[in-house]
């Protein structure tokens, strides 16, 4: 029976969704709670905030990375239903991926590498299969351990992850999923299952389940000013508009561009955090952060070394030609006051 506590929060950047989870967890101290998310950075932040900086979590609260959760609580306990033998899985193969043409009838070769480590894109598949073949033992075990499971960054879930979430939505465990469909910069696995729902399609996946899960939209940004919100919203015209709750003015507020030769003096004047697309991007030798890594962080100002499609969007505001929408969205929405592009 689905829990009446199931909730999906679709939120905009800077809407304090992680803080929302932290507040909810701390408010329900009597319940056994699991908080899980995909990125290590987010995991670290959640642990820090839940423990109020002490590193020691309240009793009853467990914080676990999504893959650790999948491995230890979902795949391992009932692996014998999928793999035939007990205690076969030795570890996780995070680099390799499932051989494309392996036959499913030899599950050990299909899901595991030659050292019996599970391919990363097979972990949730084992979990879902084990649950199916054992008539629901995986979910039953979870519902004995946890009263409520919070999943942050739900937009990163894909493939069999979504099938597992589906099963959890039907269980007595309360599920709270929080995510921003615009920020799907990672995908937990590349399995071909549920490809329709990768990335920003998470909102339609959730909409289809609104009978089992209450959907709440958080469209206030406590971080970015309205100009930044509008620039970012333009990337996703089908999603609701974001209202800025940040009315501070500093004299340099909004979205700007500078030429490469102005970078030095601009950095000196405003001390922005420098964001780049990837490690190989040229940032004039200045220390920079990858956009993907910056997710979840708040900065006063950012200076972005953009890709060609990003530049195109800057000039034309045409999301069709903006390339990786999520990366661009994440990059600009890190800033409270100003997001500036270096444009040759």
């Amino acid at each position: 029976m689905p829990s009446a506590d199931n909730l999906a929060v679709i939120s905009a950047a800077g809407s304090r969704k992680t803080q929302y989870i932290v507040d909810r967890v701390l408010a329900s101290s009597s319940r056994r709670v699991l908080v899980t998310t995909y990125t290590n950075e987010n995991l670290r932040q959640i642990t820090e905030r839940l423990s109020i900086g002490s590193g020691v979590l309240p009793a009853q609260v467990t914080v676990m990375g999504w893959f650790k959760f999948l491995m230890s609580q979902c795949a391992r306990p009932y692996q014998s239903y999928v793999l035939g033998e007990a205690g076969v899985i030795r570890g996780l193969n995070f680099i390799g991926s499932k051989p494309q043409y392996a036959a499913k009838k030899n599950p050990r070769r299909y899901y595991l590498d030659s050292h019996d480590a599970v391919y990363r894109d097979a972990v949730s598949a084992i979990a879902v299969e084990a649950n199916r073949l054992s008539q629901g033992k995986v979910i039953r075990r979870l519902s004995r351990i946890y009263d409520h499971i919070y999943i942050d960054e739900v937009q990163d879930m894909a493939g069999y992850d979504l099938d597992l979430l589906d099963a959890l939505l039907d269980s007595p465990v309360g599920i709270t999923m929080v995510g921003d469909p615009r920020q799907a910069t990672y995908v937990t696995n590349n399995a071909r299952k549920n490809t329709n729902f990768k990335g920003n399609r998470i909102s339609s996946w959730l909409q289809q389940r609104r009978d089992r899960c209450f959907i709440q939209e958080r469209t206030e940004s406590y971080r970015c000013n309205q100009a930044i919100c509008d620039f970012a919203d333009g990337l996703y015209p089908e999603l609701p508009r974001t209202t800025s709750m940040n009315n501070e003015t500093t004299g340099h507020d909004g979205v700007f561009d500078i030429r490469p030769e102005q970078v030095r003096s601009y950095v000196e004047q405003y001390s922005p955090i420098i964001l780049r697309h990837q490690k190989t991007s040229d940032t004039q030798g200045l220390a920079a952060m990858n956009i993907g890594v910056s997710k979840g962080s708040t900065f006063d100002r950012v200076l972005i070394f953009p890709t060609k499609p990003m530049i195109h969007y800057y000039h034309n505001r045409d999301p069709e030609k903006a390339g990786d929408l999520a990366k661009l969205y994440v990059a600009v929405t890190r800033a409270k006051y100003s997001a500036t592009f270096v444009i040759p």
Binding site: P77, Y78, A86, G87, R90, H115, K137, I145
Partner: protein
């Protein structure tokens, strides 16, 4: 509480399965049936340690079941590549809500239950080295444990720590008291676990300040002053005396418990083992606490054993106790229904014994019930004279005493045959023969009294035929002529009646004479049947 154990390839156990009683399990069995191994295995799964050391460090090829090891080596030498054998010990817990995280099917039975396991298996990281090793089959003589790893897991197949095991264990092996200096590891373990963390810290702190004070003592300062000036023949460094303040010199090595002001190691061995057992029993724990006791009867006099057994039965409430014993006294006192008769595949219980039979043995705790339990074949007789005559009859027929063939002749007082048979019918692999007088009734009627037991197939009853031959003595007279018996007994009665009166008045003397006589004696038919 521990609900069940399943063991694979560990020492005597190739495949072993046993359900536990939640309170008390008295482990009984022949030597080599695996009593100590079972105790060791329970401790191993609960602590990942064996004799105080990590299993991974202690793992050796000799811990594998010898047939399993031999088959593996033979297969390698025959050029095949069998998987290296694994030692697995699975401990199942009772279902409880707090144990939800220990649930899974990663156990030898593949059932969904909460539990923990230790597994010593091949470490795939050594695959290349292992393949090189088996490439020369003639060099493979033992299980190559150097390529193994030990995993300590719960049934969800996730690693566990001592903290996450929901039960604690105290192993008490009274026969194996190793005292060099200070407290041995059993005792230090028991003492440490008896103290709460604050008290433990206080103890360490007090010990450290004791060491520090030593150096500040006036006389020591003076002595050290003197030593500092000592001739420097060997070294230029200064020589002083002090107490070892390094980490390894902790209180356990130097502080000794005293009993009535006598240092622990000077107390008798019996007192030492009693003390250890009592410390373990008195422990207050929230977690399920398991107490493993090896042969408590060692080093204890009979009255002290009695005291200890009483303590065990009153103090073990709420704790799960395992006792390996050779003592019928321990067994009868603590209750036959708690007996687990071990074999290398599993255990057998007497828990369905009728209540009045349990009480009977508990009251008459001197009875050697273990003999009946352990003997493959036993002959129950009604008195010492029957016992002697049966021994003689057996010797004549087989050329040796029955006990040399593993047949135990047990003298059962009065009419308690049925109590013993209540036990015997549960032990299917044991054959029990009752030898009884007809006491003036038809043999068929006497046999009919035992019909319920005879139906089990492992009980037979031999009764003297003929109402007029009530007991052993007239039965002997029936099959031997008066001259022979006169000679055997060293008497010279003229009539059978006189001889019979003498025999009945001197039962034991006559039986001894029969047992010792060099002359051939005919034995009554029912005695012959019993020893056939």
């Amino acid at each position: 509480m521990l609900a069940k154990i399943v063991i694979q390839n560990y020492r005597t156990f190739r495949r072993f399965e046993l359900d536990f009683d939640p309170d008390l399990n008295i482990l009984v069995g022949d030597n080599d049936a695996g009593k100590s191994t079972l105790i060791e295995a329970i401790g191993l799964a609960l602590t990942n340690r064996i004799r105080g050391r990590l299993f991974a460090q202690e793992l050796s090829p000799y811990m594998f079941h010898k047939d399993v090891a031999a088959e593996y080596v033979a297969a390698i030498q025959a050029g095949r590549t069998p998987p290296p054998p694994e030692i697995i010990i699975d401990l199942f817990f009772d279902s409880k809500a707090e144990l939800a995280g220990l649930y899974g099917t990663n156990n030898l039975l593949k059932v969904d239950a909460p539990g923990i396991r230790v597994r010593a298996g091949f470490n795939p990281d050594y695959r290349d080295e292992y393949e090189a090793f088996i490439a020369r089959p003639t060099d493979v003589r033992l299980v190559p444990t150097e390529y193994y790893r030990v995993d300590w897991l719960d049934f969800s197949s996730n690693g566990i720590t001592a903290r996450s095991v929901p039960a604690t264990a105290s192993l008490i092996d009274a026969s194996n008291i190793q005292l060099q200096s200070g407290v041995d590891y059993y005792l230090s373990g028991i003492i440490s676990s008896h103290l709460d963390p604050r008290e433990r810290v206080e103890l360490s702190r007090a010990y450290r300040s004791l060491r520090e004070n030593f150096a500040d003592d006036e006389s020591i300062v003076e002595i050290n002053e003197k030593l500092r000036g000592a001739p420097r023949d060997v070294s230029d460094r200064q020589l002083t005396l002090n107490i070892d303040v390094s980490q390894k010199a902790s209180w356990e090595t130097n502080i000794v418990p005293h009993l009535d002001d006598l240092p622990f190691q000077f107390v008798g061995k019996g007192e030492q083992s009693t003390l250890k057992i009592l410390l373990a029993l008195n422990k207050n724990v929230d977690d399920a606490h398991t107490i493993l006791v090896e042969e408590p009867e060692n080093h204890l006099s009979f009255p002290n054993l009695g005291k200890l057994v009483n303590k065990i039965s009153t103090k073990c409430v709420g704790k799960q106790v395992f006792i390996a014993t050779h003592s019928s006294y321990v067994l009868n006192k603590l209750g036959l229904e708690k007996l687990v008769l071990l074999s290398v595949n599993g255990g057998f219980r007497l828990d369905i014994l009728p209540v009045d039979t349990r009480d009977y043995f508990r009251k008459l705790s001197g009875y050697d019930t273990l003999r009946l339990v352990l003997a493959r074949r036993s002959i129950l007789v009604e008195g010492p004279s029957d016992e002697l005559v049966i021994q003689r009859a057996y010797l004549d027929r087989h050329g040796c005493l029955p006990i040399e063939n593993g047949i135990d002749v047990i003298n059962v007082r009065g009419l308690s045959f049925k109590r013993f048979l209540d036990v015997a019918v549960l032990l299917k692999q044991n054959h029990v023969t009752v030898v009884t007088d007809n006491d003036g009734q038809d043999a068929a009627d006497v046999r009919a009294r035992y019909s319920a037991y005879l139906a089990h197939g492992n009980v037979s009853v031999c009764v003297g035929e003929g109402k007029d031959y009530r007991t052993l003595e007239p039965q002997l007279l029936k099959v031997n002529d008066i001259e022979t018996l006169n000679k055997v007994l060293g008497v010279s009665y003229g009539s059978p009646e006189e001889l019979l009166d003498y025999m009945i008045d001197n039962k034991t003397t006559c039986a001894l004479a029969v047992f010792d006589s060099p002359l051939p004696i005919n034995m009554p038919e029912y005695i012959q049947d019993a020893i056939g």
